[in-house]
């Protein structure tokens, strides 16, 4: 882990600084808005319930959903991240300010009033100073929460330590995960410690703080709010997994010499961001339904660095020996789904928002393959097949199709374990006997799972059949896993752009993209 960290030290530093900036700025804004709000509701108790309730609701909204809401309003990058972090820190700050002030001894408040202090004088001279310990506890809580949630900023191209964390998860690289998680944890501890020191400062000295804090905010904000536009230059958004794969960003750099400004962004918000013109180039999948929905075009991979990714179910051989009917049933699908059919199925999922189960059934019915699941009495006698899938629409649809086929044509029951995050996680589940089959892609098998040597890769990569035989043989030999017949479509990584922009700039291939980005 240490060698990873020292190798990536400049990236690590950049991410840490970004992380600190995001946390700090959103915290300051939350204090500036939350503290006065807390004071307000301590004065007007009637609205306290409503305000606290609202802040609570904001905090329960799942972070990624909140970030997603922000994109049309604030785009991608630091702004929506800071906005979301600000909303998350509100509850502890408002609540603790309210509790702190209402908790001040009533006799003391009465004394202040009885001596002739106005409401404001009582607030600043008596109530706030006495409520400070509780208020500070709230700020410290908010800080620690913020450092944690800020890791999600990586999903919307705002940077931060989340880049390493999520990249590591997607690539199953523990060192990478730790390289992001440990500094994040340390940040939380250090910030909390610093704040505890600030708390013990004499209140008098804090008056200096009222002046210096705004300066600090201004300085930090300048890093973010200065126009990020590289006027005229294109901006690419890639998923954490793409960034780390040899057949992804690394290949683009090496084989094409592509040098384009990139940000890390989650697959969930990437397409929308491109549509909204916040990104120009994204790394997507060639059968993604959102291609159709957002009018994006694929740039041709003229140097052929993206290997073929023919989809096929891979099954543990032990299961096939036990239940040979599984092989015949699954092979019913082979050759039945072309690229355009898959894109259409995905479009229904991603854009028409139909449920995977419905899409699977409609497809089988249309193909005349649908069969009602056999009745219980048969099923309970035999065994059960565990089908896994990764976390995207196409996988859900395929696993549903397989599930329905097995239930309809065999006496076996099916348990689905969907949503396994990332290729490695899915595969490890299989080698550890947690699942029996899942849909995989030949290219992924070659480059990620087998991690074949360069000469071997180069030897097979340009031909889909040779890739298939290679992975077939090796999986059989190494893992006793069988690759059944390909389903018929190729879901490869692809770079894509808005159709309009691609036409305007005359970019049809990745080489043309590289040439364009080197101009000026």
């Amino acid at each position: 882990m240490w060698s990873f960290m020292s190798q990536q030290s400049s990236k690590l530093l950049e991410q840490t600084l970004t992380h600190i900036g995001l946390t700090f700025i959103s915290l300051m804004i939350a204090v500036v808005i939350g503290l006065p709000l807390g004071v307000l509701i301590s004065r007007k108790r009637k609205i306290a319930g409503a305000v606290l309730g609202l802040a609570g609701v904001l905090q329960t909204i799942p972070s990624i959903a909140l970030l997603g809401f922000m994109i049309p309003l604030l785009g991608i990058g630091a702004k929506p991240a800071i906005a979301a972090l600000f909303l998350y820190s509100l509850l502890p700050i408002i609540r603790n300010t309210y509790t702190g002030i209402t908790g001040v001894d009533a006799a003391i408040k009465e004394a202040a009033k009885g001596m002739g202090m106005s409401g404001t004088q009582s607030l600043f001279k008596v109530e706030l100073p006495l409520a400070m310990p509780v208020i500070f506890a709230g700020i410290r809580t908010a800080t620690v929460i913020n450092v944690g949630v800020a890791t999600l900023a990586a999903y919307i191209a705002a940077g931060g330590l989340g880049e390493f964390i999520f990249g590591g998860i997607a690539l199953n690289n523990t060192n990478m995960i730790l390289a992001g998680a440990i500094p994040a944890a340390l940040l939380a501890i250090i910030f909390d410690f610093l704040l505890s020191k600030v708390q013990t400062l004499n209140m008098r000295k804090l008056r200096l703080a009222y002046v210096t804090f705004p300066f600090i905010i201004l300085i930090l904000s300048s890093f973010y709010l200065l126009p990020v536009a590289y006027n005229g230059k294109l901006l690419a958004g890639f998923t954490p997994e793409f960034m780390g794969r040899a057949d992804g960003y690394l290949g683009l750099r090496k084989q094409y010499g592509l040098n384009i400004r990139t940000v890390v962004i989650s697959d969930a918000v990437m397409y929308k961001a491109a549509y909204e013109k916040k990104l120009d180039v994204i790394s997507g999948y060639s059968t993604d339904g959102r291609l159709k929905a957002f009018d994006l075009v694929i740039l041709r991979d003229d140097k052929g660095i993206f290997p073929p990714y023919y989809a096929a179910p891979i099954v543990r051989e032990e299961v096939l020996e036990k239940y040979p009917e599984v092989e015949t049933t699954l092979n019913m699908l082979s050759g039945m789904i072309t690229d355009s059919i898959m894109t259409d199925l995905n479009y229904r999922a991603d854009y028409l928002k139909q449920a995977p189960e419905r899409i699977a059934k409609d497809f089988l019915v249309a193909q005349g393959l649908w069969k009602e699941p056999r009745s219980d009495s048969y099923r309970s006698k035999k065994g059960s097949i565990r089908i896994g899938s990764k976390i995207f629409g196409e996988q859900y649809i395929l696993s549903n199709i397989y599930s329905m086929l097995i239930k309809g044509y065999t006496d076996l029951d099916v348990v689905t374990k969907t949503g396994l995050g990332g290729t490695k996680i899915c595969f490890d589940a299989m080698t550890n006997d947690q699942i029996d089959l899942y849909p995989e892609y030949t290219g992924t098998g070659l480059l990620v799972l087998l991690q074949a040597k360069e000469e071997e890769i180069n030897r097979v990569i340009n031909n889909e059949d040779s890739v298939f035989s290679f992975v077939s043989n090796n999986f059989h030999g190494r893992y006793h896993i069988k690759w059944l017949k390909p389903i018929g479509f190729n879901n490869a990584y692809a770079l894509m752009m808005r159709r309009q922009q691609a036409n305007d700039l005359g970019i049809n291939t990745i080489t043309e993209l590289k040439n364009y980005s080197e101009k000026k």
Partner: protein, 318 residues
């Protein structure tokens, strides 16, 4: 100085204070006495508008209190609470300086006034920079009183100021309080449920029950001429103690006979002492259980406890 006229206070359907009226002359001490829930604290708080009256009028120094802003009114009235209401985050000096600072006195004036008060209230000068939690209960209450007196207000409102102290400290402080010059020229309204304290400190006592004043008058009036059974009952438990405490030797001077030889040497007791103190003294210290008493004209009589008591009974019947 303070004129309360037909004042009432409702909380919803509950009448906490029901049509009360009284006057407090300048320099006088008025005690609002009663059991809990009788409305005495509510009455007190209406004077400085911490509670607004439902009806009736209150005038301080001739001016209706609703005619000025509450803050201005309160800065001219000292307010002492029962519980420890000192600001825990301020030192003793800062606590005392609160009202003068609100009135924008200059620093030196505040400092000298603060030192003056510490002395008057028997607080060591080195306690200035100490925080309230480092003081004893009795000391805290002295600071509380100093704080109320800081801006030298003509009126003082005190809500059971000695209530949170133990009996002995309480007795000591009350006695000190009654002797401090500073208090004598102030108009004070004090709330208490302690009858003895009321008799010790009050020029006028208003005994309250269920929001109404049962009787308002001089201590001995309530004692010897109770307006109704309630008043009588209320004072019955400590009757003798109160009476002996309220009557001074000089009040029964004429009834004392000088039976004994005057001692040229020996103890002298001032005729200004209460009968209670005189008797206590005679019993504990008197030679042959008797003592010389001297009034302000210089006359001397020698008495023992029986004579004192006899004179007392004659007085109380009259």
């Amino acid at each position: 100085m303070i004129a309360v006229a037909q004042v009432s206070k409702h909380f919803g359907s509950v009448k906490a204070v029901d049509d009360i009226s009284f006057e407090v002359k300048e320099g006088e001490n008025l005690i609002l006495l009663g059991t809990s829930g009788c409305g005495k604290t509510t009455t007190l708080k209406m004077i400085n508008r911490l509670i607004e009256s439902s009806s009736g009028s209150i005038k301080v120094n001739g001016v209706d209190i609703t005619k000025q802003s509450p803050e201005t009114l309160r800065r001219g009235i000292g307010y002492v609470l029962q519980h420890n209401s000192l600001f825990p985050h301020y030192t003793v000096a800062e606590n005392i300086a609160v009202v003068p600072q609100l009135l924008r006195w200059d620093k030196n004036r505040i400092k000298s006034r603060m030192e003056e008060l510490l002395e008057k209230l028997n607080l060591p000068a080195d306690k200035q920079s100490v925080y309230p939690h480092e003081l004893s209960g009795g000391q805290q209450q002295r600071v509380n009183i100093a704080r109320a007196l800081a801006a030298d207000p003509p009126v003082l409102l005190m809500d059971e100021p000695f209530g949170a102290l133990d009996t002995i400290t309480r007795a000591n402080i009350s006695r000190e309080f009654s002797e401090i010059q500073e208090f004598m020229r102030k108009t004070i309204v004090m709330v208490t449920h302690d009858v003895q304290e009321a008799f010790l400190l009050g020029d006028t006592i208003c005994l309250m029950k269920d929001g109404k004043i049962e009787q308002c008058g001089k201590p001995l009036e309530l004692l010897f001429h109770p307006a109704n059974d309630f008043v009588k009952e209320f004072l019955s438990a400590s009757y003798l103690r109160l009476a002996l405490g309220a009557i001074k030797v000089k009040d029964i001077w004429d009834k004392l006979n000088n039976f004994h030889e005057q001692e040229q040497t020996g103890d002298y007791l001032s005729a200004n002492e209460s009968l209670w103190n005189a008797m206590e003294f005679v019993i504990k210290n008197g030679k042959d259980q008797s003592v010389n008493v001297q009034n302000k004209e210089g006359q001397i009589k020698r008495v023992n406890k029986e004579e004192l008591f006899k004179a007392f009974s004659e007085y109380s019947i009259a």
